[in-house]
Symmetry: C2
Subunit: 349 residues, 2 copies
């Protein structure tokens, strides 16, 4: 049953040379005579030999592996971020190992152990767990593994934590949304979604409140824990039932497209028209955004680009090479119809 794995020694014996020479042929080292090279190459091909990465890693002390910690991959935002990172890692010869850390679960000891034993060259972190205060210890804990290991965070920058950071400017996304609504004439604008623990949610709220102040608008404001469609649905109910029609907001900024989707559904059920009675704006530009009714105006955060650049920068830090890596694009507003402006929405009529 057990097929013996062929080693460099087998190849060497078969080709009548030393393992050293085989190694040199594989590494395409210069000082091997054409005749020997050809002979060895033939045996290698014949046996489909590939050098064991495990042995290489042991020697080189580099695993060419990066760890990625995300809340999961079922949320399209993180899925895209991961795929972006994956593509870049592939291109640079690195492998990614994904660790999922569900939002509300604490960091289990067994997972920590898993991470510790896998000797990854560097780590990329994103999502609420990284940012949430109680679990902020995640980074110090990772630091204890190997002090010199570079850690990169994709989130609003953390104070007094020694990490590379890819700035995902979440407050700018909400500022753009807000200004867009303002320019359309809206003055009573509400904010929906988020949870207190997540710093990136907090970041958006702060951006919202700050920008509202700048625009000298009253803070018609409703904060509802959660990032799901259901949260959006419930959020709309609570928001609108707590306000008289006079004070009802004319626009709704949702923390993400899911919340916006739930909101649209609920508004529809309540007979409130979008965008005539209320404008709705989402965030993330998820694939379904063009297909809600009406098509959702939203903000594209380019998660795939963030993932790609994260790997670039991490590898650069690892190799000390002066790579001139690109920066991810800043958030950009995608205008569809849910705010009453029709631009760039695709229809086939």
């Amino acid at each position: 049953m057990e097929t013996e794995r062929i080693t460099i020694y087998d190849i060497a014996r078969e080709a009548g040379v030393s393992p050293t020479t085989v190694s040199r042929v594989i590494a395409e080292h210069a000082n091997v005579s054409a005749h020997t090279r050809k002979k060895v190459r033939k045996v290698i091909d014949q046996y489909h030999f590939t050098p064991s990465r495990i042995a290489q890693e042991l020697l080189s002390k580099r695993s060419l592996t990066l760890g990625v910690i995300l809340p999961g991959v079922t949320h399209p935002y993180y899925a895209e971020m991961f795929e972006g990172a994956y593509q870049e890692a592939c291109r640079l010869g690195y492998t990614l190992i994904l660790f999922c850390l569900p939002q509300n679960e604490p960091l289990s000891a067994s997972l920590m152990d898993q991470i510790a034993r896998r000797r990854v060259d560097g780590m990329i972190l994103s999502g609420g767990i990284v940012e949430a205060t109680p679990e902020r210890e995640l980074i110090p804990m990772l630091r204890t593994l190997r002090r010199s290991m570079p850690i990169l965070t994709i989130c609003p920058p953390l104070p007094d934590v020694d990490c590379i950071n890819i700035y995902s400017d979440l407050s700018s996304s909400v500022r753009q949304s807000l200004r867009h609504l303002y320019n359309l004439g809206h003055r009573r604008i509400a904010f929906l979604g988020g949870s207190y623990e997540s710093r990136s949610a907090g970041e958006r709220e702060l951006g919202f409140l700050d920008e509202m102040k700048k625009l000298d608008l009253p803070a018609v404001y409703r904060h509802e824990a959660g990032h799901t469609a259901e949260a959006g649905q419930l959020g709309v109910i609570k928001l609108l039932s707590s306000l008289t029609d006079q004070r009802r907001p004319t626009a709704l900024i949702c923390i993400n497209d899911l919340v916006a989707l739930g909101s649209l559904t609920q508004l529809h059920h309540m007979g409130i028209r979008v965008p005539e009675d209320i404008a709705v704006i989402g965030c993330d530009n998820q694939f379904f955004a063009p297909y809600t009714s009406p098509p959702l105006t939203t903000v594209d955060l380019h998660p795939a680009e963030h993932g790609r650049v994260a790997v670039q920068q991490l590898v650069a830090a690892l190799t000390d090479e002066a790579m001139n890596f690109s920066q991810p694009r800043p958030a950009v507003l995608i205008i569809r119809e849910s705010c009453g402006v029709s631009l760039g929405a695709r229809r086939f009529e």
Copy 2:
């Protein structure tokens, strides 16, 4: 800059014992005196020492790593499958390495090399690449790496390929949809989506055609390449423009929820009411399905369960243990409103 990594030898020296003893303490081996054990443990804790998995792997010839090849993870179906697999792998002490193989790209040599070098204990494959005929060589190619390596496929079973298979009964999902529509009185039923290369798409079509025959219905039938919302939108246009109103189908089976979403949008634009004028049914029960208008009747394939069971079975094959692993649930129809039956749809009014 370069922090020397602490080895078992450092610990041994510091504790004044041999590496062997340290290893025994870590493995909680019996024959170590209480005094020595305590002494060694103290040094281990002090230095936060964890034995290098790489060295362990080299010796044990098992990497406790499974490779997963999927078309990607941005499609929620695969994202859920991956997370299910991930959870089970975590529980069993295994690590997953994800390789993404975009649907239409050929298997690049460099990716194959990546897979080859990572010595994974087993592999899980799913998605069109595995099934598509021209690339069917994927499995033979993987086999050349190490003949004894177990390979598990999550798809309709492949003939004459020696793999463990988790049967994702795609034809049954479309059969269920079809019978549901039939029972509601529909007779002119169309099928939308899929592409010729993908066997799982073919599987569904075959199921559709076969079941239509059994029910003695005419094959009002439109096949449109693609699995995206846009494909659904275009598909509806082509389907309805090619048929007179007389022969227009009263029901539409979409190959997935995305196609269904695009279809719903397009039908809405064309002023065709759902479900009054036409019933629409999807597949996958994606998170947005309850929030389309009307809420989408669809089929849940339980991808997470498939992923979970896949890891269970693969690990069982690896360890030769007679695990009695569970089977994933078969596909189940989720009835919402897009076919004119209102059941279990959540509203807050």
